[in-house]
């Protein structure tokens, strides 16, 4: 499978995703933000970091970059797009995903391991997970507090467009296990046709058991190979 990782000035999880993809046998290319063409890609990853410093609203400048026009075209043609952390923020800014990511409820950057529950496993990203499986991933963000209108919330619930929700080790989802204040504990969502996934947690940080004692992120990438 051919993958491309978009690199913005200020991206800082680009190498981490590359390591994960290459470990899992993707043929990967790094694509600089000034490029105007994408290499042949089955999967495009927009990695975490602070694109353009995020001195404006997170992701706002990246959403206007050269290469994003191409990413939007590819997305509309059905290419698989994965936005992680800052990548999720960028996808929201482009309008490919709806809603908004506000500052964390405690107004502080938050980096910790959290449990998330797989809400929908009938898609290209999560088919290796069981439905309602609880996995452990790492979050590290300042603006990960997902918010959306009641109409849109109802829509993503009805159409099963919620990928992950924050929970405890037993899979219980309530305010107590919601690290950043996201509406309904939402940690990741799909677009209507489920070829785009935006998520705040970092699956690429949980691929090596020697390092983290946990390989819960592996299945997200291997699902894509299915």
């Amino acid at each position: 499978m051919n993958s491309s990782i978009i690199v913005f000035p200020g991206s800082n999880c680009d190498r981490d995703v590359k390591v994960a993809l290459e470990k899992l046998k993707f043929k990967n290319k790094m694509v600089w933000h000034k490029e105007t063409e994408l290499p042949k890609s089955d999967l495009i990853v927009i990695p975490g970091g602070f694109s353009y410093g995020d001195y404006l609203r997170s992701g706002a400048i990246a959403a206007k970059s050269n290469i994003l026009n191409e990413v939007i075209k590819a997305a509309n043609n059905g290419c698989l797009i994965l936005g992680i952390c800052n990548g999720f923020q960028i996808l929201i800014e482009t309008g490919l995903l709806q809603g908004t990511l506000l500052r964390n409820k405690k107004l502080k950057f938050l980096s910790k391991n959290v449990f998330v529950r797989v809400i929908n496993n009938k898609n290209n990203f999560c088919n290796k997970y069981k439905k309602d499986q609880v996995i452990r991933l790492n979050i590290a963000h300042n603006e990960g507090n997902y918010f959306t209108s009641p109409d849109h919330l109802k829509k993503i619930e009805d159409l099963d467009l919620i990928a992950f929700k924050y929970c405890n080790s037993e899979g219980e989802m309530n305010e107590k296990f919601n690290p950043n204040g996201s509406i309904d504990n939402i940690a990741g969502i799909f677009n209507n046709s489920k070829n785009i996934l935006g998520m705040m947690p970092h699956p690429e940080r949980m691929i090596d058991k020697v390092i983290t004692g946990n390989g819960d992120g592996v299945n997200l990438f291997t699902s894509l190979l299915n």
Binding site: N12, F50, F109, S111, N142, T212
Partner: protein
């Protein structure tokens, strides 16, 4: 402008120093030249009060590739990999403007690392504040923590460890020390020494602004009630630009275009150009009109003394400018040839086609004043109080009070604001004996830790100096790492005071003794004097950053209890030393007597045997015993494990407070399986290591027979409460 005595003093120079300048110049300097002298001759840049003491430190062994004197120290970890690391203080700016002060502290130390060709792989910090009830503390704590996080998180280097302490001595002068650790190839280390004539001197990075002018001079004076007015001398950090600068420099370093490279840190363009030329025994010509400026009408004086961040000076091989510029263009960074190397051994500055400054390089560096300041010895304080005569207290309540005190509470509230996992190689993060970082794509790892013990150092600087080195050694050993080398950040008061100078001199003696004995060299460091306000000096606070090597990383060892029914052994002898302990301080508000003694042969022997046991896979978990003694360390082993311990009262020692809260040094706690007891007993006996069984792990309860029994989760909650309520 005429140089009057007042102008000289405003530049932080003494009148006799000014006379020396005139002699070296053979004339009166102009204002620009005076500014340059003040930047190079201040304490922060010249180490004039500390140099003769620092020279005595143990700085070389077979693992050291570069010791003190470069941007950072370099150690060999085998397979052509080297670790480059250093610690630096940013105390004064952080007290005036906590967010930017702390942020630029992180930025500065990162530049020291990637200047040498290393990709930074870990950040640590040691931050000391005044008492929590002091009205400034909350704002300073919030600002410093956000600033450290804001910079490290953005640039994408994990912040994996450190320490946060509160003490009244820092009420009016906080400490912010940041350490960076990088990984490089042994054959690709870059130095600051200039080489060759007529080579291009290139300015890269951010534009120069009016921020931070005379920052280094500010950091070389005590605070007074007008310190707030110094806000404009604090630099403003831009981690985004630093990220670009780092990537651009590392990209350029892949080929052979760079002869030498130096970051513009304290004293900016002045110190970088002078250091490069001095080390290469050369001169340098700079055309100041070419310096990229952020603001209009900047004068040569402002350009030379600005401490704007995220800038570097390079000297390039011939005909490499075009290729190099392409890389910096790609990253949208300035790249301007501003001068060349010469054989004049002078720093020659021109502006508008006129020479505006011309100073012999040696006058700025090797001729800078060096002081052998007078100092006083400190006597070992006497043991006065006796625990048996003090008011009786409850054991359980004492333990709870300590575990829920600001200094001994869980620091998650802080560490969760730092990205600890970015770069994907963090094996163990904050809240452990040491952090462990995997060497990318290899099967080995380094362990890193930061430690300080101001109360011990204040009581007796020689012992304190030894203790803090040993503490870092123990922290590395406890995660199965072989200690390799250290970096030190020496935070002290006013060196012109003989008592303070004595604290400094004796701390150095202590550090030196411990390093020599343990073959544990100092490879880099930083001295920060004048920490104090209105003649009130801080306690001597040397902070030691240490790096150890784990050759084969299979299953990392940590301090968390693993199983029920295992034996906990104490390694090292317990005498019950309560003077200068957390127990005396928190329970009786007593801070007196001598610090615990350091026995270096025992320290080495105990450490080596622990490492042997870990390598033989005979232990399940390890924790060193430090602040708060055995009982606090035992509780820490249980936290986050869901296991408790049933602890036995000692048979020999009569007083349980002395036994469990005593802070005798050189001790470790290990968890072992019952079946391994006899083989471990034998190994310890063969090596003459004192040890005793202290308890058995069990479900749920933390229990000391006949004294206390508490659910471990309840105890953990108490340990976490303070920060969230502050």
């Amino acid at each position: 402008m005429k140089i009057t005595n007042e102008v000289v003093e405003k530049h932080g120079l003494k009148i006799e120093e000014y006379s020396k300048i005139k002699k070296l110049m053979n004339r009166e300097p102009n204002l620009l030249e005076l500014g340059i002298f003040s930047a190079m001759w201040n304490e922060h840049c010249s180490y004039k009060s500390s140099k003769i003491h620092l020279k005595t430190l143990y700085t070389k062994n077979k693992n050291v590739i570069q010791g003190p004197g470069e941007n950072a120290g370099v150690i060999d970890i085998g397979d052509d990999d080297v670790i480059i690391f250093k610690i630096e203080s940013h105390n004064h700016p952080s007290f005036i403007e906590p967010y930017q002060g702390a942020a630029t502290g992180v930025g500065g130390i990162l530049r020291d690392i990637f200047t040498m060709g290393a990709r930074p792989i870990a950040l640590l910090n040691s931050i000391h504040f005044g008492l929590p009830e002091n009205k400034k503390t909350r704002n300073l704590l919030n600002g410093v923590v956000s600033g450290i996080g804001g910079y490290g998180n953005c640039i994408g280097v994990p912040t994996v460890g450190g320490e946060t302490k509160f003490h009244k001595t820092y009420n009016e002068n906080i400490l912010v020390n940041a350490m960076a650790v990088g990984l490089a190839n042994k054959n690709k280390i870059f130095y600051s020494k200039a080489k060759g004539l007529n080579k291009s001197v290139v300015y890269v990075g951010s534009k120069t602004g009016r921020d931070g002018i005379h920052g280094a001079s500010m950091a070389s004076a005590e605070f007074d009630e007008n310190s707030e007015e110094k806000k404009p001398t604090v630099q403003v950090g831009d981690p985004f630009t630093e990220k670009l600068l780092m990537e651009a420099c590392l990209e350029l370093m892949k080929d052979n275009s760079i002869i030498s490279i130096q970051d513009m840190g304290a004293a900016g363009l002045t110190s970088s150009s002078v250091e490069m030329a001095f080390k290469g025994d050369l001169g340098m010509e700079i055309e100041l009109d070419k310096v990229p400026c952020r603001e209009e009408n900047m004068s040569p004086y402002e350009m030379m003394l600005s401490e704007s961040q995220e800038r570097m000076l390079l000297i390039l091989e011939d005909n490499k400018e075009l290729e190099a510029k392409k890389i910096f263009d790609k990253w949208d960074l300035d790249f301007v040839v501003i001068g060349k190397t010469t054989n004049t051994k002078k720093l020659t500055l021109s502006f508008n086609n006129k020479i505006v400054g011309n100073i012999p390089i040696e006058a700025l560096s090797s001729e800078a004043p060096i002081y052998d300041r007078k100092w006083e010895k400190k006597k070992l304080p006497l043991k006065k109080e006796n625990i048996k005569k003090l008011k009786k207290v409850s054991f359980e309540k004492s333990l709870i009070k300590i575990l829920s005190s600001p200094n001994n509470s869980n620091k998650k509230w802080i560490t969760e604001q730092f990205d600890q996992m970015v770069m994907g190689d963090t094996i163990q993060k904050s809240g452990s004996n040491s952090a462990i970082i995997k060497i990318h794509n290899k099967n080995k790892a380094i362990a890193v830790t930061l430690d300080s013990s101001a109360d011990y150092c204040h009581a007796h600087p020689i012992t304190g100096g030894k203790q803090v080195v040993c503490e870092s050694w123990r922290n590395l050993i406890s995660v199965g790492a072989k200690p390799v080398a250290i970096t030190n950040c020496l935070n002290f008061g006013n060196p012109e005071n003989t008592k303070i100078m004595g604290e400094f001199a004796e701390t150095i003696i202590g550090i030196k003794e411990a390093c020599e004995f343990l073959d544990y060299p100092v490879v880099s460091g930083n001295v920060s004097f004048y920490n104090g306000t209105n003649k009130k000096n801080i306690y001597p606070t040397p902070v030691i950053g240490a790096v150890g090597l784990i050759n084969k990383i299979t299953k990392p060892i940590n301090r968390t209890i693993k199983e029920e029914g295992n034996i906990i052994l104490v390694i090292g002898k317990t005498f019950g030393h309560l003077y200068q302990s957390v127990f005396f301080k928190e329970i009786y508000s007593l801070v007196e007597g001598p610090p615990p003694e350091i026995n270096l042969p025992n320290e080495k022997n105990n450490g080596e045997i622990i490492l042997k046991l870990i390598n033989k896979k005979l232990v399940k978990s390890v924790h060193d015993v430090s602040n708060g003694g055995l009982i606090v360390s035992l509780a820490e082993m249980c936290f986050s494990s869901n296991f408790g311990i049933k602890i036995d009262k000692p048979k020999k020692l009569s007083n349980i407070f002395e036994y469990f809260f005593g802070e005798d040094q050189g001790r470790y706690l290990i968890e072992i399986q019952k079946g391994n007891l006899s083989i471990i007993n034998q190994l310890l006996k063969e090596n003459n290591v004192y040890h005793e069984i202290i308890g058995i792990t069990q479900k749920d309860n933390f229990e000391l027979s006949g004294e206390m029994k508490i659910n471990i989760n309840d105890l953990y909650k108490l340990n976490n409460k303070w920060y969230y309520n502050y």
